[in-house]
């Protein structure tokens, strides 16, 4: 092949690949395309619910399976003043060992609740050794002990129009446009809320829940990915729609594009 022809050809290959690459960026950034692509979420959800019964249990493991290192993710140091997720209120709770901390259960319930850690521990406990699957791909196994959410919701008694449970958290995972702290939040439907393995955990591997893992209380909703497992839970609210929070997608990561149905 003549050198100039080879130059032309490699130029052609290079410029087409540059175009394809630029095109891929454009396509990937286009919201119309994203709209089509995210239609698959409904399919994920339908398949998950078609093939798996509402009360089917996530696999439980033995003590020997517990991870030596369980990777904390998201906010991991809201007790550290230098950490962006930290707030004075949360630091005060840590300083007093959560003595004044109260879990609030309200929204569409007949009997709103205010519960201390001692109140929660006085209720029948549920313990389970389960696998935590992060959306990034890794998995860790730990033992969780806490109160079944179903038990708490029965106590509070949902009103008939309650459809979702929203978890409001203490960690400032991000900032709003005006600079004010944006607190982590999550939401689940009633099928998961009343699932026997859905608990609000106050202990991990036999110890009080450590700060990086959501002290004093975190959600475990075992058939979904890690970002559903809200940490630093302050308030449990029954709602008919989660649209009025954040960007209306039902959670902090959902507002950033992740699927509300995190069963895959």
């Amino acid at each position: 092949m003549k050198p100039e022809r080879r130059g032309f050809l490699s130029g052609l290959v290079l410029s087409t690949s540059a175009l394809v690459l630029a095109g891929c960026n454009k396509i990937a950034n286009s919201s119309a395309v994203d709209h089509v692509l995210t239609s698959a979420e409904a399919f994920n959800r339908r398949m998950g619910h078609f093939f798996v019964r509402p009360k089917s249990l996530a696999r439980e493991y033995s003590r020997a399976d517990i991870s030596r290192f369980f990777k904390p993710n998201g906010s991991i140091a809201p007790d550290n003043p230098a950490d962006a997720s930290s707030t004075p209120a949360y630091r005060a709770h840590v300083a007093s060992n959560f003595a004044d901390w109260r879990l609030v259960i309200d929204g569409l319930v007949e009997h709103p609740q205010t519960l201390s850690i001692a109140d929660l521990k006085a209720m029948p406990a549920k313990a389970q050794i389960t696998r935590h699957d992060c959306v990034e791909g890794w998995s860790s196994i730990a033992e969780w002990r806490g109160v079944q959410l179903a038990r708490l919701l029965q106590k509070a008694q949902l009103k008939p129009n309650a459809k979702y449970i929203v978890f409001h958290c203490a960690d400032a995972i991000d900032k709003n446009d005006d600079g004010s702290p944006l607190f982590y939040y999550e939401s689940i439907d009633l099928e998961d809320a009343f699932h026997p393995q859905t608990i609000l955990a106050y202990a991990m591997n036999g110890q009080p829940l450590p700060v990086p893992h959501g002290a004093p209380l975190r959600l475990r909703v075992e058939r979904q990915l890690g970002y559903k497992q809200a940490k630093y839970v302050m308030r449990v609210e029954a709602v008919d729609s989660y649209k009025r929070y954040g960007q209306g997608k039902g959670g902090y990561w959902e507002d950033n594009g992740y699927e509300w149905y995190a069963g895959i």
Partner: protein, 288 residues
Amino acid sequence: MADHSSNGGAAGPTHKVLVPRHKLATRITHWINVVAFVMLLLSGLAIFNAHPALYWGQKTDFDHPWLAMTATPAPGGKLVGHTKVGGADFVTTGVLGASPGVDGKPQARGFPKWLTMPPYKALVDGRHWHFFFAWLLVLNGLAYLAFGFWNGHLPKDLWPTRQDLKEIPHEIVTHAKLQFPKDERATRYNVLQKMAYGGVILAFIVLILAGLTLSPRLDAGFHLPDLFFGRQSARSIHFILAWAIVAFLALHLFMVVASGTWNNIRSMITGRYAIEVPETSEGGDHEA
């Protein structure tokens, strides 16, 4: 059967005729599969980049990945890319571990931007692409299997016969010499082709199952990780099979080119394939 000693072509003067080769269902599902697989590969690598390391077992032992791509800073704002496989550590700067991001600046990333969809680093968009094309691939695959059993394509054209198995040694020799029949024998898949296609169909099925295993909800219903020795093993197997299919694709493309590029591709588009048949007037003792 015509004799095998000739170079595939019929003896004496021949002329070309177009014969039907691929049914419409095979052609449509084939090309949808190509698009879906390519998009799944690229978006899968974008997802991989969120945690570019693979493990065996149920849970992640962060200190012992069997495959890991990492970046270490070097003087001058540079990044050195490392790829660790088992105990070995390769410097793979520019391709694996560290490569230029969409802004051209060095970035810690497993696979480079020209192998990921989207090219910018975003797990969230990678997932959106992946799930969309995953369901397309599954529905398309089911359609392929349904048509294949219904019209007999799978049992008739793809399942090796007893005669086929006897021909394996002979086919290996002629394939190695890149000799392919041009006559009536070319209207059927040879046994190596059947095995390669059967193998890739099987690989897709296991690949899809390994992908479904990554769903915590489906795991609750089916205990899928037991099938793959754990969820992290399933993620590894999912990754390995994707690359096994890339290897199939390379061989597949090579064979398409080696045995007549345009004739093959036309047959997969229009359904018609050209073979050489003896001139009828001088047909001699050849079977038609």
